[in-house]
Symmetry: C2
Subunit: 196 residues, 2 copies
Amino acid sequence: MPKKTVKPGTDRADDRVRRSKEAVLETTYQLLMEAGLAGVSVDEVSRRSGVAKTTIYRHWPSRTALLLDACSRMALKFDIPDTGHLRGDLVELASSIVALLRSKNFSSVLPSVIDAAERDEQVAALHSRIHAEHMAPLYVVIERARQRGELPRHCLAAEIVAAVVGPLFYRRWFSREPLDDAFVRAIVDRAVSGSR
Amino acid sequence: MPKKTVKPGTDRADDRVRRSKEAVLETTYQLLMEAGLAGVSVDEVSRRSGVAKTTIYRHWPSRTALLLDACSRMALKFDIPDTGHLRGDLVELASSIVALLRSKNFSSVLPSVIDAAERDEQVAALHSRIHAEHMAPLYVVIERARQRGELPRHCLAAEIVAAVVGPLFYRRWFSREPLDDAFVRAIVDRAVSGSR
């Protein structure tokens, strides 16, 4: 039996495949951070990761498939706070979003995803999945507040989410003003008091 | 004197220069709409406009200079409303912003500007100029409301602007939810009532 061949399906082969896929994804993600979606080419990923283009194309049928896979690393899970009142829960969640917006990795790449989503439905679907995951905890705490009677039955959760998250995104990407604690509290106050 | 040469500085020469610059800018702007900032090349502008690359580079020293000039067409002047109260003025301005967000031209190109601004200071400066022009009327109506005594002296105009505009931008580019009149009124109500 030859010693150097590693049969597909064996542990060692699986391990090698897993490591090379991981190297490709990590390199793609790094390139995304540096240059945005438009700046990533399979040539460059192959050069930097040392994984052959043919191997890359064996795992991902197209550049888009690879980009989508790498982008899905941008989705984070936020813990769902339970301070006992809506204002406290929303301040905690808004602060987690601010931390995400301050991380260069996330906040400098998202605009390239938003831009590509304008012209590419696959990217739009991916963004919409990442976005929904990030917003889910806000809907949980709002629904809990409604059940506690803190909010009127008719009030729209999606309006509260937009009133909290919109101003944070606005400051990070549009007006580029500071995202300090005072601003977070002021925005949450407006969102909550206007919903009563 | 040869009949067919047109001396620089004469009316006909000026006119020809003006027309060819206009054709280049218009073509660049069209390409921007179709493909975003990253999709515009001087080659393609030259091909589509019929203006030679050497002529384009005579007027704009670089692709970036041409892009900046074409992008500056994105800035619009909004009329400053005067309904007599802050809520009415903000609903009018927010509705103008919604109209801008509905125009495919503006709203599908802006993300490519935001994306490029993350990595290019000239684009960041341009975006910041366009943004300031769009926000200026909001600051005018908020200051007028403060002088009328509708708002406390200590309230921060920039917070009100973020509370109104943030949720509109959020729905257009992030959650992709509808931007209807009811939403505009609900957002303005929160922004105003929370500022008192």
